[in-house]
Each structure stands twice: as C-alpha cells, then as structure tokens.
Symmetry: C2
Subunit: 420 residues, 2 copies
C-alpha cells in the first residue's frame, strides 16, 4: 500500500497537513466535491479491507472485556461503511461555506473592503473509538477547505488506519492532496499530546466524546478548542404547564435516546404542578422505567425515588435515570440551571408568558426551548445537513456546528495606493 | 467613598460580576445608554480626583525610572479625561449588538427556531498601564450587556482605582449594577492569575498590550482568549509594482505611526523592482530616517543596511527600523510571510493580477491589502465606530473587533409540545 502512514512524527504530520491546506484553499467547489465522491466510491468498494481491520480491533476489544455498547460503536458492517459513503455524498450536496462575501463596503478614500469566508486551515480532531467520525469529520473538513489531523481512540486504530488509507488512495486520483488527511498512529500519550500545543501548525482542536476526553483536551490545549458535547440538560415544568404537553415533552427528552447529549438529565418541577399531577407523573415514570433521584421534597412525593447526591445534579446519566428538583418559582429553577447546567440545551414548559420571558432571557445555554423537547439540538434536526459537533462554548460557534463553523474570514482590501 | 473596592478576592469579584451580568442582560438599550451617559458626565465632573490619583502613579513611575513613552501613556490631563467621556458618548451612538435575530426558520413540525445575539457574559480585560483602556473597555462591555473584570498594569493602580470608583459611583444612580465593573487591585501574581482559569465565572479573556503580556495570558489561560494585537506586518513589492505607489504605501505603512500594530515591520521586495528603482528607494529611506536590516542581497544593494538576524524577521520593531528581504517571486514572499507573519495585516503592491490573486488566496492573515498601506486595520479607520482590540486569531472574531465581537448567540425555540 502506498500510504503506510508510518514513520512521521506528530509534528511532521501537522506540518504536512498545513502545507496541504494551502493547496486545498485554492481548489474550486467542484474540485473538492469530485474528491469527496471519489472517496465515497473507494470506501464502498474497499469495504472488505476495512472490515478485516475492524475485526482485529473487535477481537482486541473483546479480549480486553470492553462492554457491549463500546463494541457496538466500534463494530463496522458493510452497511455501516456504505453509510459513511452516503454521508460523504450528502456533504457534496451542501453549500460550500468558503469564499462567501459576508460584508463589503468602500471607505471614503476609495479603499474597497470585503469580508470573505476562508477555511480555518488545519483541524485537529480528537475522538473516541467511533470509526464513523473518521469518515464524517474528513468529509466536513475537506468540503470546507481544511486539512484534518485525526486522533481517534486507540481501540479503533486498525479500523481508522484502514479507513484513512482508503481515503488517501482515493484522494491521489483527485486535486485534493492526500496529505490533507493525517491519522496519528502513535499511542504514546506524550507524543500525541503535542497536537494540543502546536499552535503554529494546528488552527483548532475539536474534541468529540465523553466529558473526560473533552476536559483533558481543554485543560492541556493552548491551541484554540471548539468544546463540544457534554449536555447536562434540564427541563423546568412551571406551575402553569399543561399536563399533557409537560408529560409528552419530558418523556421524549428523557427516553427517546437517553445516551445522547441533548437528552434530559434533570427535571426541575414546580411544587404546585407536581402536587396537582402527581398520579399522572408517577404513572409516566413507571410505564417508561424511569428511575428518579430527587431532592427532599421529591423523595417525599414520589415512590421509589432515591435521594440525589451532588453527583446526580452534576453529571449526565445517559440512561433512564433522571434527577428531580422541586422548586417554588422559575427563579429558583434558573438558579439551579446556572449552577449545574453545561450551557447545552434547557427547556421550560409553561403557559405563563412572564415565566417564559425570564427563562429565555436569563438562562445561559446554546439552545433554549419553550414547550418542546430538548432533542432538537442537533445539526440534522435543525436542517444544517451535517454537524461536526455541538458547541457548548460561547466563542466562535454555539450549539450544533455545521460547515460554516469550520471557516473564519479575512478582510480583503483593494486599493489604488491609499495611505493614511 | 462607598466603593472602596477592597476586601474581595479575585474569585469573589468574578462571581459578583457574573451575577451583575445576569441583571445587565435584561436591560434595554436606552437603560444601558443612560448609564453610559451618567458615567461620562461623572468622569468629566470628577476629573480632579482622577488627576490626583494619577499624580501618585506618575511620581512612583518617575521614581522607578520608567521611560518617557511609558510615562506619557500613563499621564492624564483634564483633556484626556474628557476624551474618555467623549469616547463613552460615541459608544452610546453605536448600534446595540445584542437582541438581533440573525437567522430564523420553522421546522416542518412547527418548531420555531431563532438565532439571537446575546452578551458573552463576563469579560476579563488584561492590559498595561494605559488608563484609557479602563474607561474605553468598560463602555464597550456595558453597551454590549457584559460585565467586565479589569486587570490593568500595576503602575496605574491609583489611576485605575480612581476611574473605577467614579464609574461605580455614577452607575449607582442607573439601572446598570455597579458590580458589573470590577477592578482587580491585588498585585499578587498568583491571586490575579486565577482570573485566567476561572472558567465558571469568566467567559472570555482579552489581553491588550505587548507580545509578552499576550503570550503570558495565552500560555496560562484555560478561559477562552481573544488574542489581540501583535502585528509583524509585511509589505511585498512585486516586480510589477508602480514605483510611486510602492514608495508612498511603503512610507505610510512604515512611518505614519511606527509604534502601532498595523505598522510595517518587514519589506519583501522583488529583486528586479529593487534593482530598477534602487535610487528612489534609497532616497526615500534616507529622507525618512529609516534604518534597514536586510538579507545578503539587501545588504549588498542598500547603503547602511545592517545584516538581519532571526530576531529582525520575527519581532516587531515599533520604530523607524525595517527588515528587508529580497525575493525572486511572489511565492517566495508568501513563504516568508507564512514563516514569520503574525496573521495581522499583509500587503502586496503589484499590477500583475496573477501575483495578486495568489497572494490574496494563500496568505493567512486577518487583513490583506492590494495596493494600499497596512494602516487601515483599525476599527475606527474601517468605520466600526470603536474597537476592543484587533484579533490575530481565527476563531470567533478576526481583525478589528467592534461591539459584535463581544456577543455570542443562542438558539431560542418556540414550540407547542414538539417531540422527536
């Protein structure tokens, strides 16, 4: 195979990606799309190579007694690989986010000013053992004119290596330089951590995965980070909430896909509402197998409710567990969210406009919902076409990040000798 | 005085600012403007208190033998204080950057999605002994609905304390909580460095000052940083450049205000142009007292040209010195800028469209100029009305940052019980 991916240090890989990014920035949308289609075809064609490599990772994972959910995320099938290819084709259909003039004007002296979107440059992607990210992130990076340096979980190293080799093989037949995609194969933590501080070669780091992975990147990075993902999401049911709407949105947010970041983790409920609709609420919990962890009042009111600890308020369950806090006002609910929320998605179910107004104006999160489930904080659900992650930070991009989040801009000034 | 500003730890100050920010986010544009006008009036009225405090700092500065430029930046006069007040009045006239619906659509299920600009929250401003920043940054922060925690150079501590006391006194008569403005008075480095890692209370850090101050913040911050300011700016004179235009833009970029970040530091010049126009170029250097530091070819061609060291290519002179590199192509010029540029402002003087095209497409900087001086990278010059700094990073905001750079957005979803 031409690309053994071997023998380069992390720094050499980053430098190579940077140089390739320069070439990439000069390509047309059509040239980038042709490359993505070539990659999609090659992945679909070479699925056997990828499956063979994946089998090695699966064997190693089973030998290490990784749990079923972990192995399920790691496991590839021919269908899943075809999903990668289809995902790339969807990216082809998305609007090219670069080269857009987002603002232009002329100064009195005649200097023409244009603000034009451009690629960020080199994206460092740090993720866990989910091979789909390897293909998805590469597609989004290339479409937006960026090089990408991939650092996936070491348990997926054979799979990722095979995927990236196929991608590079396909790129060789296109205008996109194969060096625009780099996979870090070193498993030496010290060596891979260099990625986090290589400001001169890497323009942004995007960690995707659990809270501990994201924290590790944030804590040691000097390269700017686009923080993604951790969603300790709350729903507040006001005393003015309609009972059916409250129950339906609560159940959807909690049970539709408990393991994802926009799922509900803590229910904050007004005491009067809970007292009035206790029977319906308890039945909903029981019918759906939801385990509550409540404050003192909740424990008194709800059967089988465990006493919540600090841990329950702070962490994502990602399961059918829910923390329950009983409050006497929307202000008390907001205070709790201020303390424990992760600025992802927060909902209020209420008919009282004043309560809704205060909630919407003062809760600090990427997405606020009135009378709806939190589950819509997602690039696909919102119609962005694809997403590189969900930002829980405030700078650059907030909430679901589509292709535009992978661009910056530059001011391009056209003059005829202007001086100041 | 009501606000002694004493006795709070840096963390307590940040918490207080955060709480005040919540109130501030609820105010109308008029309420914020009234507060800014009240502050402007109070500063103009209480100038004597500020001048007395400034005199203490000046005495201490002279005793420590600080240089004349430093003392000049530190020194206040009644006129300069009136400039602060006028600056605040100008901010009143600027458009409120918050509450703007930048995008809105409705999903098929009827969920209404709006993306609305909101304040960042709490801004941590770290700067040197320039008391004007205390007033200017406070005005921009409050107008955009943000609290601000100020950490100015310790040599200006009496001046800054007096200014902030006046500001807080004025705010007490307005809807803006006085706690929205905090001045860190501690000079204990360990204590003040806490500001850099207080992610739960501070939303963004903006360092303003020399390269070493900015580097110190970037290196130790886990709070997101808006990097500003260092401008190792280049101008490339192509062989196709018109001689008069090249000389005029070069001289303007180099000599108009050598100490500012958008001033020229390195001239890259095509060998053929230099050979053809050597006499005019040398005369221009001599007439303007410009000292050159060149590569081997420049040293041979130019009289009195010192040999450039690595330092000369890397650092800002901020004086009438200029590094000179002679090249044989635009590609060679771009390679030099890639290596030494700080992504601030880069110019090409050329008539050859192909050279201009390559330069504009591949040079990575906030502002690129064709046939103009680099001196226009400035919020006032570009018509932004005011600027909090010039970003040399790629995330969030690039180039001159006006009020919109002090905002983020949130998605506000209005539903009628939507579930997924």
């Amino acid at each position: 195979m031409e690309h053994t991916l071997k023998g380069l240090t992390v720094e050499e890989q980053a430098i190579s990606a940077k140089a390739a990014g320069k070439q990439l920035a000069l390509l047309t949308t059509d040239e980038k799309n042709e490359a993505l289609l070539a990659v999609a075809d090659q992945l679909a064609k070479d699925y056997e190579v990828i499956l063979a490599a994946n089998e090695k990772d699966m064997q190693a994972g089973k030998a290490k007694d990784f749990d079923a959910a972990f192995l399920d995320r790691l496991k590839l099938t021919r269908n899943r690989i075809e999903d990668f290819a289809n995902g790339l084709k969807e990216v082809v259909d998305l609007d090219d986010p670069t080269g857009k003039v987002t603002s232009d004007w002329t100064l009195e002296n005649g200097l023409q000013v244009s603000r034009i979107t451009v690629p960020l440059g080199v994206i460092g992607m740090i993720y866990e053992a989910r091979p789909n990210v390897t293909a998805d992130a590469t597609g989004l990076a290339l479409k937006s004119g960026n090089s990408i340096v991939l650092k996936g979980g070491s348990s997926a190293i054979h799979t990722n290596t095979a995927i990236v080799e196929v991608i590079k093989r396909a790129l060789e037949q296109t205008k996109v330089p194969a060096e625009a995609v780099q996979l870090i194969q070193s498993t030496d933590r010290k060596e891979t951590a260099k990625l986090f501080t290589m400001k001169e070669h890497i323009d942004v780091l995007i960690p995707r995965g659990g809270a501990s992975l994201i924290q590790a990147v944030v804590d040691s990075a000097t390269v700017p980070v686009l923080e993604t993902g951790v969603g300790n999401c709350h729903m507040y049911i006001d005393k003015s909430a309609e009972v059916e709407m409250a129950l339906a949105t609560f159940l959807n947010a909690k049970t539709d896909r408990p393991a994802v970041c926009n799922a509900l983790e803590t229910l904050i409920v007004h005491r009067e509402w809970l007292e009035a609709h206790k029977a319906d609420f308890v039945k909903a919990l029981q019918d759906n197998g939801i385990q509550t962890h409540g404050d003192e009042v909740a424990v008194q009111l709800l059967p089988d409710c465990k006493t919540a600890t600090e841990e329950d308020w702070s962490n994502e369950y990602l399961s059918l567990d829910v923390a329950v806090k009983v409050v006497d006002s929307v202000e008390e609910a907001i205070k709790h969210i201020d303390q424990y929320g992760t600025k992802h998605s927060e909902a209020i179910i209420a008919e009282d406009e004043e309560a809704v107004n205060v909630f919407m104006k003062t809760v600090d999160a990427a997405a606020l919902y009135h009378n709806a489930s939190t589950r819509f904080t997602d690039g696909h659900a919102l119609g962005f076409g694809a997403e590189i992650g969900i930002s829980t930070q405030k700078l650059h991009a907030r909430g679901p990040m589509g292709l535009p989040a992978l661009t910056t801009y530059k001011y391009v000034m056209k003059g005829t000798g202007q001086t100041r």
